[in-house]
Symmetry: C2
Subunit: 435 residues, 2 copies
């Protein structure tokens, strides 16, 4: 049955797309649908799909590509210009969930849930899962309400981008410390070494890429996405091999490098079909497949409830506090807090990494998935509540970050339309030739 | 070392691209470069790459996607209009190499090269490897000489497309007969069943697809490539599961179905990055990796030489004969024969399938790869010789097949330029906003 993987991929593609369409109809992101598809097809429910070696490896590659794309979407120059508001909100919004999440885990990480390895690291790891905000659903909701181009919208965008980076730094620290078994000093030195290497290597790669870009011009454009992918793979590999840093961090850094080339959008547009035709659906589905529902006893249900409450409250309080420290009015602080509640891909990727490194007992995969779904459902509801009574467009603000996001969406739509139009035009001229 | 696959992919991407660029500079197709890259990196030479499970599985998926794309590029309606010349050339050009190739193999398939299984089937299989012409290099050469839009060029194009289909039918017969161990009658019935299923299922899928296309219009275009891929995967799976027919035949048929939708070019353009960023380089490299050079003793070298001579002569004689039967002048018959000599992807895919089904002793992978490289090198040289003295453009002929090929290339270039232009325009408007 060596061809069985064909059916697996077909099932994953059709189910994630169908459920993604369903969830997007009820205003939820397609990620939730894809997760649920995996849950339903996996051992937790129907049992049609198993976590085969092939699916696991492809989903690992999927994670690399998702993080690479996330890096390509992050414009460091513009982040620097957004000022301290975003940084403070992100910082508090990372530290509070990290601390409280680790504390909650400490209460549960014993007895029946005890897991071989360093307990302290496992607790901190659970906190790390809570750090990264997924901003896409907030952006959608704010846009719909006409509130994206405001100070609140802009701060949320900047903070969400920064807390991705902070969350990845936490992950780097935790995974490096846990995996090595050597002293903290050496691990910190290695991490420092990685960031130095990333900075120098990234700059050199950027220079080389730009030189090559200039030399090649618009000839044979295919080679640019290939070169970018090679950079991503090499950075990921070297991060693990030389510095003991998680491969996804390397991929993210490679994405940051590519974001600064003039071909960034073109390259992103070529990675998009690679993602949505194969890698991303398999990644989300295999997260769902890995969830072990049969083990969900009373204790784990209790943990799930508490963990979800902690996930919502810590972001709300943490980010609100950060905004307060910047001197924003309380109403805006609450709005920012609610906008940062949502979790998504990065939390899943972190959890996945944790299971691979034995930092996370697979029993907890269920609670994490449920927490993410709950936060996603809650975010638009909360946002609509806290913006009630305010007129849209009364505090509009010029923002490069918002422009970037809108430009990227516009680019995707425009380029797809262009392709389709070109296609129809040729079809017609062909038919005309025949007559 | 679970992250080692990252380095493997990076090595494959960069080496296939570099060697592909080198070979295309000396007028050879990039396939040859990619093969040589695999040979150099694999156990036959440097030993940096091994055929891991991951690479093997991804390359299998790569074959499915290559055949699916080949199907999408085949327009059955236009093939039917090209008349009997193409069909006769293809038919003779398939039967002669099949017979002579099998005869040659019968001489060698004994003693030290004997291989468990049905010897007759193994011999016929070796003939099957020789059936499929790769037309891309001929098209390039003829275009360069301004001879593509002639009767000769048009006949070559039609014959090459038809002999792909004939070659795949041979493969279906051989693999079904060899794998099953049941009577010839049942196998033929199953193959007939598959073609019935393919025709009915294909028509139904086409109807459903067109209905959905009309209903959806230009909204959310992503779902069309996903649906097409699901069709491809299901067809491949069902071909193997229900009818014992090779999965690549199912993928090819799915491609034929998609070729008849108005979204065909759009879908093809989305599969292109999936191919060139991941699947195709891994497929070609892993063919190179599988070649076992250390076993190349005197006998196998003799076989390689004879096999290559047979490959060139049988196509030349077979296709020339077919053209002669259509009443073409001898000069044109020789030109057509030379244009059909080249072998490529499909021969490799057939050989790969044979090794997976124990129909091909891996010892013969070396000769096959060398034969392909030799035919590829010879084709442009032969073509330039046999067209010597003729003025270009003196026998131009209107041809839909030639139009299709040129239109597809133009589409790829135009759409890439459009994307890039849109990208630069947005970059500029962004910079303007900042000022």
């Amino acid at each position: 049955m060596s061809y069985h993987y064909l059916l697996d991929i077909a099932l994953i593609l059709i189910s994630t797309k169908l459920l993604g369409l369903l969830t997007s109809r009820i205003q939820l992101p397609q990620v939730v649908g894809a997760l649920v598809a995996g849950l339903i097809l996996g051992p937790a429910c129907l049992g049609w799909l198993q976590a085969t070696d092939f699916l696991t490896q492809v989903s690992e590659l999927g994670v690399i590509v998702i993080m690479f794309t996330a890096g390509m979407g992050t414009d460091l120059k513009e982040l620097r210009q957004t000022g301290k508001a975003g940084l403070l909100v992100a910082l508090c919004g990372v530290l509070v969930p990290l601390g409280v999440g680790a504390g909650l885990m400490a209460l549960f990480n014993q007895g029946e849930f005890s897991y071989p390895g360093d307990t302290l690291m496992q607790n901190i790891f659970m906190g790390t899962v809570l750090t990264a905000t997924s901003v896409s659903i907030t952006v959608e909701t704010l846009k719909e309400m006409g509130r994206l181009s405001t100070k609140v919208g802009n701060t949320i965008l900047a903070a969400a981008l920064i807390d991705d980076i902070l969350g990845l730094i936490c992950l780097t620290l935790v995974t490096s410390l846990a995996g090595s078994g050597v002293s903290v000093g050496i691990v910190l030195l290695k991490i420092l070494g990685f960031f130095l290497f990333a900075a120098v290597g990234g700059l050199l790669a950027l220079k080389a890429f730009k030189w090559y870009e200039k030399r090649m011009g618009e000839r044979d454009l295919h080679r640019f996405p290939i070169l970018a992918f090679v950079l991503c793979l090499l950075m990921s590999y070297l991060a693990e091999e030389l510095f003991g840093v998680a491969d996804i961090i390397g991929a993210f850094v490679a994405g940051l490098v590519i974001a600064n080339t003039t071909k960034a959008k073109y390259i992103e547009s070529k990675f998009s079909p690679l993602s949505y035709l194969l890698l991303t659906p398999i990644f989300f589905a295999s997260i769902g497949i890995k969830v072990t529902l049969p083990h969900m006893d009373a204790m784990i249900l209790l943990f799930t409830v508490l963990f979800s409450v902690v996930a919502v409250l810590t972001k709300l309080v943490g980010c609100g506090l950060g905004a307060k420290l910047c001197g924003m009015p309380t109403r805006q602080c609450v709005q920012i807090g609610c906008g940062m509640v949502c979790r998504g891909e990065v939390a899943l990727i972190v959890a996945d990494k944790g299971m691979a490194l034995n930092l996370l007992n697979p029993v907890f995969s269920g609670p994490i998935v449920i927490m993410i779904v709950l936060c996603t459902v809650l975010t638009p509801i909360l946002l609509k509540l806290v913006f009630k009574g305010e007129k849209p467009y009364d505090t509009l603000e010029q923002s490069n970050l918002v422009d970037s996001i809108e430009m990227k969406e516009q680019y995707n739509i425009v380029s797809d339309r262009l392709l389709q139009a070109e296609c129809s035009r040729m079809e017609q001229s062909k038919n005309k030739n025949k007559k």
